[in-house]
């Protein structure tokens, strides 16, 4: 067994919040460059050039690439040989987020209660997910998730017989309905199967997969390519101002499901596709 004090994760999460908000990774920046070569619309090209210039500026000057520094999704993949000491893990995750957002001059975008809506002024609570995995390491991923794209997500339970055609129809209806609101060029995460909770989490987690990397199952990898082409054929384009590049990628994750069900969750990741990871 390996023992880690929960206090040790505080500075790590603080730094990850800031790094994620200030620096889009090379995978995302390269995808913008590739999109620029594919884009046919002059307005679309302008938008992509501005997004690229912005990404470089934010990293160079260490300031948030987007003003909406999001609700803070934190994924902790904890090795089953790790034992924890110290105060509650969730408290320390929130302390890391509090310090990250306060000391990093990030926007505080979270209210404590969805109906009475008082800002917590430190961006807590984090949206914490923990998973137990083999090994003795802890992998922490921070994913600041902006409201504009998160608000456009959709969930529907289809009939089992609806199959691929039903999933594609639901996807394209959703894409048409939300138009430019999720700040394209975006990434689409799709969860298919599981229960309602599992399905939505798969859609979110699929957004962490690098752009250009497909599902390991060739059937789903082909679906990802087919769906990407269909989404880009809508003509919505960068920022929704028309063009050939609406999505940078479509990522599908699937899971076993009840014989009566075909749940589908769609989660959008805006062009400010922020994530940062550390391994303890």
């Amino acid at each position: 067994m390996r023992t880690i004090n929960t206090q040790d994760i505080v500075p790590v999460i603080e730094k990850l919040c800031q790094q994620a908000c200030y620096e889009l990774n090379d995978n995302v920046m390269n995808a913008f460059q590739e999109a620029l070569t594919k884009e046919e619309s002059p307005i679309g090209k302008d938008c992509l050039s501005i997004i690229i210039k912005n990404g470089k500026f934010a990293k160079e000057h260490q300031l948030p690439c987007c003003h909406d520094t999001g609700a803070t999704v934190v994924l902790m993949e904890i090795g089953q040989e790790v034992c924890w000491s110290g105060i509650a893990l969730e408290k320390q995750v929130n302390e890391g987020v509090r310090l990250g957002y306060t000391n990093g001059y990030l926007r505080k975008s979270v209210v404590s209660d969805p109906l009475n809506r008082v800002n917590t002024n430190d961006n807590t609570p984090a949206m914490l997910h923990t998973e137990i995995v083999p090994g003795d390491k802890v992998k922490i991923t921070v994913m600041p998730k902006g409201g504009g794209s998160e608000n456009m997500g959709a969930f529907k339970v289809l009939l089992p017989g609806d199959g691929v055609a039903g999933v594609k129809k639901f996807l394209l209806e959703t894409v048409q309905k939300v138009g430019g609101n999720p700040c394209p060029p975006y990434i689409i995460g799709i969860g298919i199967g599981g229960t309602m909770d599992k399905c939505a989490w798969m859609a979110k987690k699929a957004l962490l997969r690098p752009i250009g990397e497909h599902n390991a199952n060739p059937f789903y990898a082909e679906l990802e390519k087919e769906f990407l082409e269909a989404v880009n054929n809508t003509g919505i384009g960068p920022i929704g101002y028309g063009g050939r590049v609406t999505a940078l990628d479509v990522h599908i994750d699937y899971f076993g499901v009840h014989i009566t069900s075909l749940p589908v969750a769609i989660n959008f990741q805006c062009n400010a596709a922020r994530q940062a990871t550390a391994i303890l």
Partner: protein
């Protein structure tokens, strides 16, 4: 067409704008978004007035990051305009000439732009860092308790926008998306 625009806007200038025009705005604008609009609506319902005079002003739908040491302002950019659609007619009646946001708006917004001869201006969602240095002064005018959602008076120095809906009722997205649809 690219145009340099000195603020405040005038009704005459607004009438000459066409969808797709790129404008570089220089002068004062006011930020106001979800919670600010709700406060104004409540104030008017109670027979009180709006905390500022909106005549000929641009409403910038924005919630900026807090400024870091040595800087007047921080990352800022337009937020989703559609959330403010239900308040738009109220703001037009208060005299605002334009709104600055991002994304699609309800069809009735086009009708309101035609009826009141107003425009919807758009920025590039997500590209907020490069806007930091476009803001040369910033002052909280009202609703300070709303934090990022307070009403702020900003001085823009060549802030880039594109006309999304013009006073003739043209919508940029509707024209452009058709061209690239397959």
């Amino acid at each position: 067409m690219e145009k340099e625009v000195k603020l405040p806007l005038t009704p005459e200038l607004v009438n000459t704008l066409t969808v797709g025009d790129v404008l570089y705005l220089t002068g004062y604008v006011y930020t106001c978004r979800d919670a600010g609009h709700k406060r104004i609506q409540e104030a008017l319902a109670q027979g009180k007035s709006s905390p500022i005079d909106w005549t000929n002003q641009i409403i910038y739908y924005a919630g900026p990051c807090p400024p870091s040491p040595g800087h007047i302002f921080n990352s800022n950019g337009p937020t989703t305009a559609a959330r403010m659609d239900p308040f738009l007619e109220m703001m037009y009646q208060l005299g605002a000439l334009a709104t600055l946001g991002k994304g699609n708006r309800a069809d009735y917004v086009t009708d309101l732009c035609k009826k009141y001869k107003r425009v919807y201006l758009m920025g590039v969602g997500g590209a907020s860092a490069i806007n930091r240095d476009k803001v040369k002064s910033a002052e909280i005018i009202a609703y300070e308790d709303l934090g990022t959602e307070s009403i702020k008076k900003l001085y823009f120095d060549r802030f880039r926008v594109i006309v999304g809906i013009d006073s003739k009722g043209n919508v940029l997205q509707k024209q452009e998306i058709q061209k690239y649809k397959r």
